[in-house]
């Protein structure tokens, strides 16, 4: 029985993962509180059949010191703004930083691409809860907006355009798993 369960546990995520292609999602399912996380936004298609010309993500409160990774063929831009709270990082107090990252380029609808950035996961983000990063794909005539965040009493299955997200875990929990 244990073997069957184990086999199912291995096989199911594989099949499910390979089907999760239609929405914009993060490759990472968990990030560790108090550490810097590498975050990979996966963009599976354009707006209808149109190519994606810009990808924008909004950095939520609690994720600080965000930095996009250089992406050949794409122009990067960041929008800075004040944080709602102040944060201590390496002995410095941060009250503002990158709140939005914009990639400009061209991704044809039939191709797939990944957009990478990193950010510090502060303890403002409670362990055990999901963090959602609203993302927008802009095309020549329209946009796909992955910006819906489920309310506490709502099933994320009910959302049409769910914002991509991941779970914050406590540092101890991460050590226990690895």
């Amino acid at each position: 029985m244990k073997h069957v369960l184990a086999a199912a546990a291995v096989a199911l995520p594989l099949t499910i993962g390979s089907q999760a292609l239609a929405h914009a999602t993060f490759a990472e399912t968990e990030v560790v509180q108090g550490q810097t996380a590498r975050l990979t936004l996966r963009v599976p298609h354009g707006c209808g059949d149109e190519a994606t010309l810009r990808v924008r993500v909004q950095i939520p409160e609690g994720l600080i010191a965000a930095q996009p990774m250089v992406k050949p063929g794409w122009t990067l831009e960041t929008v800075k703004g004040p944080y709602e709270h102040s944060y201590e990082l390496w002995g410095k107090t941060l009250t503002e930083g990158v709140r939005e990252i914009i990639w400009s380029g061209e991704l044809p609808s039939e191709y797939y691409d990944e957009f990478v950035f990193r950010a510090r996961v502060t303890d403002r983000l409670p362990a055990g809860e999901m963090v959602y990063i609203p993302a927008i794909q802009e095309c020549a005539n329209g946009a796909e907006r992955w910006i819906e965040i489920s309310a506490a009493d709502q099933d994320s299955h009910d959302l049409k355009d769910p914002a991509p997200g991941f779970k914050v875990i406590a540092p101890g929990e991460a050590a226990h798993k690895h």
Binding site: K2, L5, A6, A8, A9, V10, L12, P13, I16, G17, Q19, A20, L21, A22, H23, T25, T29, E30, H45, G48, D49, R56, Q58, P134, I136, R145, I147, E148, S156, H157, K160, D161, P162, K167, K177
Partner: protein
């Protein structure tokens, strides 16, 4: 090891929700006006899909289930030949690789959009007539089962003779299959499905969600109580069961139907229950009275029956008059309408019944008491006539469902309003006209603190999950009047519609307001 893998599995499971298919385009396009009926409709999705349910609803409200064939990401639906001119709705539900079904409704018009909405009477006339017949059969079985017990408890005050006991049991047992069939047929009627779909799941789901299911449950419970209680040896126990069954049976009539749905419901619901209570006592007593005429106690039983029947008949007339007033609104509205004709026929029959009853009470009962030899046969003939008239009255009452009451016909253009309020945003939404058929939607959004709110985009999504109509999505446009407008769109059936307003407030923020609109029938 197993635990780690299971943890991984749990962490990855939410991904399952991510791969829903999306409709990219359709031919005919949403809202297109076509010169001629198309042979096929094509729906293009973003990924490969398989059709689950396809339903075409024509301008007259008639529904058919066309066949669809999926090839890669395109679903081709073969439309029947000779589609009627007017508004056609193609409700679709497909499943993509992830096993999650998604659906929507495509509206297109042949020639021009339909001017008049399909009325409930036009929808699936076959199923509607079957439902009326089943409702009559259920009513007769219920009245027989409960009425016999009531007569035994209140009038005879003695155990029932074996012949009546057997009739009561058969009637009580019959309520179960009749009620079950009624739920399915009601579902067919609601979904405008052909009778051949009786054995599929859809009509049963719809029927069980409808008020008729409550009526059936109460009826079966009432008949069950009567069936169990009547043979009881102890008189007080028998009375308890009979009165309980009487109350439940009366309530079963109030749980569904046009009359109990008319405003003001605080008045109409008790009126329907009292009307039903009186008719159950009266009609249920006729058969045992007929048999009792041959016995030695005829005079005593008739006197007891009369002393209860006179106030109850008063109640019957009073509650009936109240309901007629609530349903019709005015005499002028009744004249000439199909509802008015049915009501007129019913009132004429009731007048006949009342005349017979008065004759029995004032002439024949004293004659029987005086020992006149011809009194018993004349009473028997009169009671048989009452039974026949009573059945006809019940048949007419059951066929009210086939005619919309005048209250539905005289206020067609009154818009329907709803207010949806959340902390983040709120909106006033208006549906014009406020009834099933083509409607226009307009809405005025504000912030939760009554401040100005100008969204970048507004989408209106209308759904009626229990009848299997897939979400109808509309893009609203900002009008010069400061409101947002969408439509016209055809809402094919009355009842509760869930409305979701998706307001794009800023690039990264969308607020969804959800509420319910009840379209009157």
């Amino acid at each position: 090891m197993t635990r780690l893998l299971l943890a991984l599995l749990l962490a990855l499971l939410p991904l399952q929700a991510l791969a829903h298919a999306q409709l990219r385009a359709s031919d005919p396009a949403e809202g297109a006006v076509l010169a001629e009926a198309p042979a096929v409709a094509r729906l293009a999705f973003n990924e490969a899909v398989a059709p689950l349910i396809l339903r075409l609803i024509g301008p007259d409200g008639a529904a058919s289930d066309p066949q669809g064939r999926a090839e890669n990401a395109t679903l081709t639906v073969a439309l029947p030949a000779g589609l009627a001119r007017g508004t056609q709705l193609l409700s679709w539900r497909v499943v993509s690789d992830d096993g999650h079904p998604v659906g929507g409704t495509l509206t297109f018009h042949i020639g021009a959009p339909s001017a008049t909405p399909p009325t409930p009477a036009e929808l699936a006339a076959g199923a509607a007539r079957m439902a009326a017949a089943l409702r009559l059969a259920l009513t007769v079985a219920l009245v027989t089962a409960v009425g016999l017990g009531l007569f035994s408890a209140l009038v005879a005050r003695a155990p029932m003779p074996p012949a009546l006991l057997a009739i009561g049991r058969v009637a009580a047992a019959a309520t179960l299959p009749l009620g079950a069939c009624l739920i399915g047929v009601q579902g067919l009627d609601m979904l405008s499905l052909p009778v051949s779909a009786f054995l599929s799941a859809a009509p049963w789901t719809a029927g069980l969600a409808a008020p008729v299911a409550v009526t059936v449950a109460l009826s079966v419970l009432a008949a069950g109580l009567a069936g169990v209680g009547t043979p009881a040896g102890d008189g007080r126990l028998r009375s308890g069961f009979a009165l309980g069954a009487w109350a439940l049976a009366a309530l079963s009539f109030a749980a569904s139907g046009h009359a109990a749905a008319a405003a003001p419901r605080a008045l109409t619901v008790p009126a329907v229950a009292l009307h039903a209570a009186a008719l159950i006592f009266w009609m249920g007593a006729l058969l045992p009275l007929l048999l009792a005429l041959r016995g030695p106690q005829a005079g005593l039983l008739l006197r007891r029956f009369s002393s209860l029947a006179v106030p109850l008949v008063g109640l019957l007339v009073l509650s009936g008059a109240t309901l007629t007033w609530a349903q019709a609104g005015s005499l002028a509205a009744l004249a000439g309408s199909a509802y008015g004709l049915v009501l007129g026929a019913k009132l004429a029959l009731v007048a006949g019944l009342l005349a017979l009853a008065a004759r029995n009470r004032l002439l024949l009962t004293p004659a029987l008491a005086a020992g006149r030899a011809d009194a018993a046969p004349r009473l028997a003939r009169a009671i048989r006539a009452e039974i026949v008239l009573g059945l006809l009255v019940l048949a007419l009452a059951s066929s009210f469902r086939l005619t919309p009451p005048p209250r539905a016909l005289i206020e067609p253009a009154k818009p329907l309003y709803a207010h949806i309020h959340t902390a983040r945003a709120m909106a006033d939404i208006r549906l014009t006209p406020g009834r099933a058929g083509p409607v226009e939607v307009s809405l005025g959004p504000q912030t939760g603190d009554f401040d100005e709110l100008v969204p970048q985009e507004v989408e209106v999504v209308l759904t009626q999950p229990e009848t299997g109509i897939e979400p109808i999505r509309l893009t609203a446009l900002h009008g010069g009047d400061g409101l947002w407008h969408a439509g016209p769109v055809t809402l094919p059936v009355p009842g509760e519609w869930e409305v979701a307003l998706r307001l794009l407030i800023s690039d990264f923020e969308r607020v969804t307001l959800t509420g319910t609109l009840t379209l009157p029938d």
